[in-house]
Symmetry: C2
Subunit: 116 residues, 2 copies
DNA sequence: CTAATTGAAAACCTTTTGGTTAAATATTGG
DNA sequence: CCAATATTTAACCAAAAGGTTTTCAATTAG
């Protein structure tokens, strides 16, 4: 589906960068669904939703089981693991930075702004 | 910078969906850098790299400190937190699915394919 | 067999993305 | 003042994204 790790990350992050696709994934977290079922909540044509599903499929996040004329889609969350791992490297940074914010708010509450 | 949570996620995931931008963030994890320094490793014009930095900036992942003619960029990892949280909801699924794969491989090793 | 349903494919359109080169702006150093 | 440096802006381009409508293909139901 995707060549190297970097392309896999590209595809996963790109797939997640759209609210419709994230909503489809949320829906699939509650169980499989056909293309029509998945498309129903959106104010867009079935064709458009179907394209979103294909983007998810190409990123490896959705598997499709064709039975007769209905295509049932299943969540495959595994490719998200790589994205999570990538983000985890930065967790230390945002923790530090959130701590910094906390300290700043604390300082403001005590009337100490840290300024000179 | 970004309106609601969904748009924030859009911007963050979109920003991360490009290998050049991920490399810039990795570089910034080792410490701040000027636009030129950040652009140097890439086989693209300074202007192109500068645009990537702007994408990161608009996603809130980079802050810029202008001193004279040099712009020093700093990592701000905090917006990644939302992306991590979003992914975390799916962690249970990929764990389950990786377990499934493990079980399958285990079964193959013992000569039990699970088929009937 | 025929009609309805499910979904993809094709053709098209507009906006965004990722890149280019050339020009403008601001700052620094001699 | 003048030249070099750091960076952005402007104008442009090709390709990708995200949408549309129309058409086609396969399957199911009556």
């Amino acid at each position: 589906m995707v060549n190297n790790d970097s392309e896999q990350l590209d595809a996963v992050f790109r797939a997640l960068a759209d609210p419709t696709r994230r909503a489809i994934l949320r829906s699939l977290a509650d169980g499989p669904g056909t293309v029509s079922e998945l498309a129903a909540p959106f104010e867009m044509s079935l064709v458009a939703a179907s394209k979103h599903i294909r983007v998810l499929e190409r990123a490896g996040l959705v598997r499709r089981e064709v039975r007769g004329r209905t295509h049932t889609c299943h969540l495959d969350a595994r490719p998200m693991h790589g994205g999570m791992e990538w983000l985890r490297h930065y967790e230390q940074f945002w923790n530090r930075q959130l701590d910094g914010l906390e300290a700043l708010l604390e300082a403001e509450n005590t009337g100490n702004t840290g300024e000179q």
